[in-house]
């Protein structure tokens, strides 16, 4: 299956520090969630793992589906999603801010999240802004609203970046 993977600048894995080659298969040996294996995102997982570079990755072997990720014993980077650039990051942040302001800007307590998101975006902290938007939704309607806000963020990414569906 094909999935997506956020990496740090230079195609470096943000947690393991592994520098990914492009096009070559990387073998992890097995797929053990959060321990071993090639970890990647379905579209719905993307908002939780935002990073500087977005890549499409081909996974092979027995792919294990987890709540927020998929894990496979081997994978290879297929292409970088060039559309995930600074302009897209800013637009994504703006969409998150706009939705939160519309939904909660006038609501006591929750309105504070709008200012938080503005501050995070002003300092380029888009992942934190997206998290704050989900948290505002959760405060308003419980955990299901957290997940719904994340789903809206994922839908925005899929549409703007022309990503394939899960």
């Amino acid at each position: 299956m094909n999935a997506y993977k956020f990496l740090a600048d230079g195609a470096v894995s943000p947690f393991a520090g592994f520098r990914w080659p492009v096009g070559a298969w990387v073998e992890a040996g097995s797929a053990d969630v959060c321990r071993l294996g090639i970890h990647a995102c379905r579209i719905g997982d993307l908002p939780f793992w935002l990073g500087p570079e977005l890549w499409e990755i081909e996974l092979d072997g027995d792919v294990v589906a987890h709540t927020r990720k998929v894990v496979a014993p081997r994978g290879r980077l297929v292409r970088r999603v060039e559309a995930w650039n600074e302009a897209a990051r800013q637009d994504f942040g703006a969409s998150v801010l706009r939705r939160t302001r519309t939904r909660f800007g006038a609501v006591a307590v929750l309105g504070g999240y709008v200012g938080d998101i503005e501050r995070h975006l002003a300092t380029g902290r888009v992942p934190l802004a997206a998290f704050a938007a989900a948290r505002a939704a959760e405060r308003a309607g419980g955990p299901i609203e957290y997940e719904r806000e994340r789903s809206r963020q994922a839908a925005w990414l899929a549409d703007r970046l022309s990503l394939g569906t899960d």
């Binding site: 943000p14 947690f15 520090g17 053990d32 969630v33 959060c34 321990r35 939780f48 793992w49 935002l50 990073g51 987890h66 709540t67 927020r68 990720k69 902290r125 992942p127 934190l128 997206a130 998290f131 948290r135 959760e138 955990p143 957290y146 997940e147």
Partner: protein
């Protein structure tokens, strides 16, 4: 992450060694990593810890001044769990 799964920065700092030693279960490891995605402070802290560990690994006993070695040994001998 959702409120019911959230880790504070203080909690991340507390368990960062376990994270680096791969001693956390999958769920806790994911909670830490989800926090790291949006928390620059904890990401920086984790990077500093990794750098410290890498530098310390390169140290040989002869790199440590004898006085400091004595002080460290005394501190370790005098240490007891709280």
């Amino acid at each position: 992450m959702r409120l019911d799964q959230e880790l504070t920065c203080a909690q991340v700092v507390e368990i960062v060694t376990a994270y680096l030693e791969d001693a956390l279960g999958a769920a806790d490891r994911e909670r830490v990593e989800e926090h790291l995605v949006f928390c620059d402070g904890c990401s920086t802290y984790l990077g500093q810890m990794r750098e410290t560990i890498a530098l310390t690994r390169r140290l040989e006993p002869e790199h440590i001044p004898s006085r400091l070695q004595d002080e460290l040994l005394a501190a370790f001998r005098g240490w007891s769990p709280a």
